[in-house]
Symmetry: none
Subunit: 326 residues, 6 copies
């Protein structure tokens, strides 16, 4: 019904989004960059304005933290460190170039490296290939804390682009309500929800329920933020399993997993969900003109807020360990 | 699996909850009190420690605000005003007495009256029949603003009872992330989510999606709060439709609707969902011993928070229109 | 020579310290409390003014985080959560009572529980049994992050007692130079360095070098802070190994480990090191009168500092996720 | 184990370092330059990429400040002043030329002269003989303050060279934790720790413990910085003793002393310690590929820091007594 | 002549100053306090408005730094540390009380202790016994650096009292022209120049010339500042020599020494010089009305300055090693 | 003692200076040039490396400004203007030629003329007769402002010559501490202090104290700058008195006056003082090798400075009244 109303009043604003339900070439940055560039080109051909990749697509999620002891995981950490992405670097330049050639915005999940610490990062490219922003996951979840450092409040930004106001969060950040609300207050219209394929990690204590948690969080956020949500997950591929030495350990990890979908501001799924081992670019048109109807009901940072009761204080400062003395 | 672990380590803490998927005797406070007391007795017989009623069960949800013009709704408002519940009053005493006799806690949804204003209220009784707390909906949704006033921050409490830490919110408050988070920070273990049977109000713009929005919000809150959620909705009964004069207007409202369920801290539905016209006391044992496993993953107000980045400031003062000058 | 000078000038100030190289009754809070109280009494009999227990003595270090996957570790986490110590609680009262009876200060390592999160805490009792302070480990190390939350700057205190200025840090915090320096600036005279028996955890990537890292950190801190250091480590006991299910896995964990010693402000070891499975109360007199000779050489927060070049900014605020609106 | 992992994943980065455990031709700049050039040539022959000399090797440490009164020391001061090194000068050109011929980086300790003041300086040459940096000791220790002025924050640099990130500190600076941390934050990979042979200065109040203090400080820094440490000390030679007039005063000073070693980022000694009167070029291969494993545990300026609690403010300005008016 | 003019124009403003050419009870704080209080009472009886004590009168100058090696000096340092003065403390309260009873301002030289560091301090009391200010010597001279830390720019104050504008410097600070000028710019009228009795320290390289350097510096400052100068030095007493163990070492130190005088703004000595072992309260009236004639010739911070050519930038911030994060 | 040490270590650097305690042929430039050239030749014969003349020797000090009213002084000003020295001019060439012939450096005081303004100038010639620099008095004193203009910061230079680093100031500039310090920071080794014979001007309010002020300023500067000071004053000659018409007014001016001396860096007078009417070339050897001992104690622009507290900003620009627009 909403759509009909929107059409009648002729305020449609269509954006074509592509969610890449794909796996990396595991722990191989250069090969993964190449694969990503190919996918961006494909998305461009399908007319996408925005292509979204899963959490730490480059160069893959550290599944070993759930399936091995810390000591067993150490060589994998070294491998990940070596294949992590510096910003900027040749890897990010290649992605930028692909974005420009395809004429599309790209949001890329990656393990970013700065100094001796790795971060779980979403990197935003515009359709000229420029990096327009970055978000580092604020709080890695459980065993992830062995691998990644913590971001800070300096990159909790919503990017005001010609496509609309875009931002995103990573995995368990969706359960940090204040983090989501920080984006809501900036008028987010297209929310990227990037996740790993945990549902295939049979040894993860949360694997059975992972996709449902993600679905509910994404759909709730769509309603609470009155925003479209592009939920994108990576499936587990055989090469990852082989590299982890778990070819015959389905009790540890299997191929497949993931739940990729596009959700409207009223919480309805409008594309997907696509799940399982088959890779897919889930392409879907979204109409930002529909947002006004969601705001009519619940403008969580406007008429449906109670600033006399609640104020969220956000420290947006870059947290520095060292500063020049003034 | 979690449960198995919990059992093995023999740390279970069982609470039996009863969610009353029931309709009031529409706009008739005395009759509805009587019905409520009967249901409380039934719950007591089934061993329930906690009985939960839907949003404004006493004396029914003002469906006319979605199906009639404001002028048409005026006589109904007068009826509602007359049948609203003062706190304390004979009606609340009756409920308390029933709670005491049944030996159960009761959370009752009601339209509360104070002076000339009505409030959308949840009232909490312990198993001795004492009123232990109240919550007034902070922000009525859309047309509801024609009927109810707004609560304030003075009653955003979590009640620390022998059963566990109990609190609750009403309907669209679940999309107010800061409101939910205010409860999370107090260690909520059993969350009451009280809603009306909007999915049967065919003239409501959100009726088609209402139950899904509620489901996602409840399941998300369970995960984000690491709390059990008792979601309770009222179905629409024929007497309500008759009283509203819509007996032959299924385009306006039908019987049925509602989505009542109990959800575990990992987001899984463990009882229900029960939907539709049939009334039911959904009884279910929950084991608070499971919460620790959810906290292990995401303690949103503890290790999974970033107080260095976010602080939620809450005004817990009772908002008064007049005060003695200090 | 220093000592001779001190004696000649008759300015000695003797404190008798006891470092408890002991293991808990693993994951059993009540039994461990009882054991601790017995040790405190023993220390009191030997005339100790200050008794120091190792990191998370109550109720034991989560060795599983180094030897099991996260999923395998979950039941142990639940056990730890159940046996963690709330402050205050019957457990802390018992320790306080023992301190009072023995007439000694006590510094107790414990896993503290607040809400859904556990913390790695040192708790300070005076000789009347009062809790005089607390320190929560600021940053758990690697896999420890799966178990404990992070402290904040609000408890980086040095306690000015009749015995002298006492403070302490936990394990890897000794590699956080700024954390150590925060104590140095407050004139620390007796530093507690509490560690777990990692050297017996054969599956920990750092086990081989653990004791040496600890020794160097402690001796360096003694010199850099011009403070006595009481280094106390727990050995691994057979009951811990049995409970972890590693009775026949010496490749995972063995009994013994630990390095307990008392170090003078010039970096020299004056008692111990005591290592291995045998439990021992290492008792030693320290003479605070010697500190002046260390300050003569290096007063790191005085004449041997360069405040024109360096200023350490410390956020001592309690980090709150929620605050009352002013 | 770490090394094995490193080799398996084939990411080794080998640097050959040579630590010169040698004594100067006492208070004779030209002869000492000649000796240094010979040693640099020897190091080049052994394939060294980096040769490191002790604190104030050119032209020797002012041992008299510990063994004579100020008045007695005055003629020695004049001798030192005369033989101190200006930068640049013929002496530094000679060292640079030797570095170029040997194809090795050189870090040279020297008493530097600027105007009427002497400084305790480390001077850095690259393998083309260029001076790439300098560090003046920030705070001379006790009696040293009679001889040397103080450096400032302008030269607290880590030099990013093709060999890796190199920096260093001098003697007691290692007890200034903020000074060490200033280097840590710049990602130091090879740390030079330059010291004098105090352990042979029997009249120094710290002589007995000097080597142990140095060892602990160096090994602690290796762990805290996740850096290799090249610790280099000078032994006392007979010509120094003769020149000081202490040929028959072993209660004042003896030959020998010093503690020269190379330490890995996990705190383990991988070459040496070499001590005593025998001169030696301690040559050792270090593999920077191992650093990632140390960073995995403790990245003190990354994931193992708490910038929300601590920020180190550094005044990097050159401190000038006079400036041109703007 | 000037005086005559002053009298004629009837603008005299007389202040009676007393310069205490006295020795402490060596390294005995309490006995020295008692002696000081007696002298203050005597000065009060002679009508003094201002009594001035020499550099580190309490509890005596560390003569051993010029006559012993550092190691030999260590026990003396410990003794000094023990007898140093904390501000405030019983010792300063006693002085304040004496000042109040005598009705006179007091400037007291002392070794001040803060934490582990000693400072060479002048402490200012008004005639009600209140501490009105403090100055810590900015830069100890040569061997003094072994004993005292450095002050900072935060206490370079001139105290505007009913007696006139009073300030002072300590010993070698008078050769720091910028330090003197910092006081000149604040309109100093009575300058305290406090010195130790170095001229009796026969082993000090500067002993022969010490009094002449002091005289010239004081008289120059009087002219350059157009200020009265009260120059006060301590003689060496036999008890100091005995305590230092130099009773029969006149080649090291003798009794006597010191040069105490009052100087007018034109550089002329108007009282004293008193020198040698005999103790004396040198009492003298000064007439601030004479200053205008000096300003007529040279107002160094006014008409006789060239601010278009010179600006002295002063950092008056307290130098802190640690600060609360804003 | 210092000298003995210097000799023993054989690092002497001897310069022979000649201070010309002489009077001009009053207000007669050509005759004075001739006299000067004769004196330079004499000095050359005595082996002087440097000959220094008093303030405005060419053609004499304007004593009338202290002894006559402004109107009475006008004809004398005209005379002075006529006999002032342009730079360069025949007069300066003559001096240069004499310097070359005598093989000595010359510093000549003169009234310099540029346009309509006179300046009080010191002009520096090397031993080849070249003018190597100039200094114009920055601020004439009191009545002098009627005669001379003011210099600027462009000529506050220290001249680095083969003899050593030479500079100088004129009369009251020595009370401008910042001016002196500007030279100190440049490493001055031989300071020229040029003054007029004011002590013979009985009508000058400062005449009684003039020589003492000069002595203290010079000796203080020697110590504060660790520089030799050549203080040179002119006596008043009978021809000057005659020309001023004061032959019988000893209440106005007498012959004689002046205080000429050479001072070592420790403040000791090593030649002179010569005073009174008798003219004299005070010749004296100075040994720059002694400076290091003074620097050892007080290097005012090095180890004995506090650049963290004080920075002197100097405007070294030539002050121009007109400039081309950039």
């Amino acid at each position: 019904m909403d759509k009909e109303i929107v059409k009648n009043i002729d305020k449609t604003k269509i954006v074509r989004v592509a969610a890449a339900h794909v796996a990396p070439i595991y722990l191989d940055r250069e090969a993964t960059v190449k694969k990503a560039c190919g996918l961006i080109a494909d998305a461009g051909q399908s007319g996408a304005n925005l292509v979204v990749f899963p959490e730490v697509f480059m160069p893959g999620y550290p599944y070993w933290i759930w399936t091995k002891t810390t000591r067993e995981g150490m060589p994998y950490f070294a491998e990940l460190y070596e294949n992590a992405v510096e910003v900027p670097s040749a890897a990010t330049e290649a992605i930028g170039k692909a974005a420009k050639q395809a004429g599309t915005y790209v949001v890329m999940g990656m393990t970013e490296r700065e100094g001796g610490t790795l971060y779980n990062t979403l990197l935003y490219f515009d359709n000229t290939g420029m990096i327009i922003g970055r978000h580092r996951k604020l709080m890695p979840t459980m065993s992830e804390r062995v691998v990644w450092g913590r971001g800070d409040g300096s990159d909790l930004e919503v990017f005001d682009t010609p496509l609309g106001k875009i931002s995103g969060l990573i995995c368990g950040e969706h359960t940090m309500d204040l983090t989501r609300y920080a984006l809501i207050t900036q008028g987010e219209q297209i929310h990227i929800a990037a996740w790993p394929g945990i549902s295939a990690v049979t040894n993860d204590p949360n694997c059975e329920i992972f996709n449902q948690v993600a679905e509910c969080a994404c759909r709730h956020h769509a309603v609470a933020a009155q925003s479209f949500v592009v939920c994108v997950m990576t499936p587990v591929a055989q090469d990852s399993i082989d590299k982890l030495g778990f070819a015959d350990r389905p009790d540890m990890i299997t191929t497949g997993g993931g739940w990729t979908a596009v959700i409207a501001p009223n919480g309805q799924i409008i594309a997907g969900p696509h799940t399982g081992a088959e890779e897919k670019l889930l392409v879907c048109d979204i109409d930002l003109g529909e947002i006004v109807f969601a705001k009519f009901s619940y403008d969580s940072a406007g008429h449906y807020s109670r600033p006399d009761v609640f104020t969220l204080h956000i420290n947006r400062e870059k947290q520095r360990i060292v500063e020049d003395k003034a």
